[in-house]
């Protein structure tokens, strides 16, 4: 069921994103130190790590919102220099335009000259349908719950039909039940659109629920600790033996400083 294969030849032939020796420091901290990994076309890749491990910086570098101090990010073999509509982004705090309605937010990218949609209005309707926001087309973001806001955020990013979807802890601010539903919906959308997804989270359960492969990062400086291929059929049950084994394994990978965090609460661990 897992879309990616472990065989290196297969991965190289369909490599979508390649992060090569990326380093990035801010004044006193080294957010990323020599980070390398690649994401295959159509793969669902999760990046987990403790807060401060530079996972958001990594995602923003792939998006082209930040430039690395050294190293490079290649998308389809071309180095990333600027943001582009081939890489849609979903933000943790939604970043919806508060002065635009649901419809207006989703339409934002479609109104750009770079995007050529023949029937934008139909596309917006289709997306509203896809993320289940019928009846809320004319609502402003302030009228929506967190889960609904993020649905708008996802629909807005999907509107311009990006090949890659970059998601920065998108469900961190929604309640657990809504999050479960959004996970199912996201997987459904991903299956339909066949996009490549890079999904940043600090929640190991979330990563194992969603990902084909999990990039485990370590903090201070941010480095890739290991890469775990999750080979469980979807939909995945959190209580299943193998699921728990993957979670345990990734928690072990995350290393000793976090051993203090026990049980099933990932929190900020």
């Amino acid at each position: 069921m897992a879309l990616s294969s472990d065989s290196p030849t297969d991965q190289e032939s369909s490599e979508k994103i390649s992060v090569r020796n990326v380093s990035r420091s801010y004044e006193s901290t080294r957010a990323l130190a020599d980070v390398s990994f690649s994401v295959a076309e159509g793969e669902f890749c999760c990046v987990v790590g403790p807060s401060g491990c530079g996972k958001t910086t990594l995602l923003r570098t792939i998006a082209g919102l930040e430039a690395p101090n050294s190293g490079s990010v290649l998308v389809d073999g071309h180095p990333v220099t600027d943001p582009g509509i081939d890489r849609g982004m979903v933000f943790q705090e939604y970043a919806l335009f508060p002065w635009r309605t649901v419809r207006g937010n989703i339409r934002f990218g479609l109104d750009r000259p770079a995007c050529e949609c023949s029937d934008c209005e139909a596309r917006v309707r289709e997306l509203i349908d896809l993320v289940g926001l019928d009846g809320f087309e004319d609502a402003y973001p302030k009228e929506l719950s967190g889960g609904m806001k993020q649905r708008v955020g996802i629909a807005r990013a999907l509107a311009v039909d990006p090949e890659t979807l970059l998601m920065d802890e998108p469900f961190a601010s929604v309640d657990a039940r809504t999050r479960d539903r959004l996970h199912a919906e996201l997987l459904d959308i991903w299956t339909r659109t066949e996009q490549t997804i890079v999904f940043v989270t600090h929640d190991i359960d979330e990563a194992v629920t969603l990902a084909d492969r999990v990039v485990v990062m370590d903090a201070d400086p941010g480095t890739v600790q290991s890469i775990v291929t999750v080979d469980i059929d979807r939909p995945r049950q959190r209580t299943a033996q193998e699921f728990v084994e993957y979670v345990t394994r990734i928690r072990d990978e995350l290393g000793s400083p976090h051993d203090a965090c026990d049980g099933f609460s990932q929190g900020s661990c």
């Binding site: 582009g84 982004m89 933000f91 705090e93 970043a95 002065w99 934002f108 770079a114 009228e143 990013a157």
Partner: protein, 280 residues
């Protein structure tokens, strides 16, 4: 969205109606007490012109609309005959409106430009620091030597007043645009700086821009009266003109008229603001 709120709002309305009524009654009570104090104070003061009484003032106010006066409309050059009160109000508006609109237009433009372009901000910030503290009425001397103290001169002073208030509204608004929103826009294909200003910065700054403009509506009423005390025709000039003849009740009538005009412009603009900023 609307169906969510409608169920609970019915019960809320009944409670808030009582509260509103109580508030209005209290407000009315405050006004009545003021009128009483005014009335007694006016009766007790001699000579009578020191404090014209409320009845006398109301009579003077009615008189403003019982008599008529011819005014000259600038630019058009026509000279309609209007009820005296309206005639002088119109004279004030002839410099108030152009001064306010031009000042707001220029102030908002410069504020947006400086808030958005760091280099421009570096260039102009010290200059702004020096010019900003000068009270608009201080410019009256230049208004007189450059334009003469008539409509143009008074409009110039109003312009200065409107300019700074609107400048700071727009400047602060654009500076406060969140990076997250500009990031989101750039991942959605906004490439040019000017598009970002138009699509993200200006809508995001709109609340502060509009608050700045509303503040300037009020401030400019004060400034315009000040300018007219130096001799530009209008309501402010009539206040001092009436006082020179010791017709203090007429002065009070014109003061009411300004209050009324201010109230109308303010309420009118609040309605516009509510509609434009429905998303807040």
């Amino acid at each position: 969205m609307s169906h969510q709120t409608s169920t609970s709002s019915d019960t809320v309305v009944a409670g808030s109606f009582d509260r509103d009524l109580r508030r209005y009654l209290r407000g009315l009570g405050g006004l009545l007490v003021f009128l009483l104090v005014w009335w007694v104070g006016a009766m007790a003061t001699q000579p009578s012109y020191l404090v014209p009484g409320p009845l006398e003032s109301v009579r003077a106010f009615v008189d403003l609309f019982a008599t008529s006066t011819a005014i000259v409309v600038p630019v058009l050059g026509s000279s309609p005959v209007l009820p005296t009160g309206l005639a002088h109000l119109a004279q004030t508006l002839f410099h108030y409106v152009p001064g306010l609109l031009l000042g707001a237009g220029c102030g908002i433009s410069l504020g947006l430009a400086m808030g958005w372009k760091g280099a421009l901000d570096d260039w102009l910030r010290p200059l702004v620091r020096v010019l900003r503290p000068i009270p608009p009425l201080a410019w009256v001397v230049f208004a007189i030597v450059w334009f003469g103290i008539h409509h143009t001169g008074a409009a110039f002073i109003v312009f200065v007043g409107a300019f700074w208030i609107n400048f700071y509204g727009a400047y602060g608004g654009v500076e406060g645009v969140s990076n997250e929103l500009t990031d989101a826009a750039s991942t959605l294909g906004v490439e040019r700086d000017l598009s970002m200003l138009k699509l993200v910065a200006i809508p995001s700054a709109a609340p502060q821009v509009l608050t700045g403009f509303r503040t300037s509506i009020g401030r400019c009423w004060m400034i315009v009266v000040g300018a007219e005390l130096f001799g530009a025709p209008g309501v402010g000039y009539e206040i001092i003109n009436a006082a020179n003849n010791l017709a203090m009740a007429t002065s009070v009538a014109y003061m009411f008229l300004i209050s009324l005009a201010f109230l109308c412009t303010d309420v009118g603009f609040r309605l516009v603001e509510q509609r434009v900023l429905a998303w807040r």
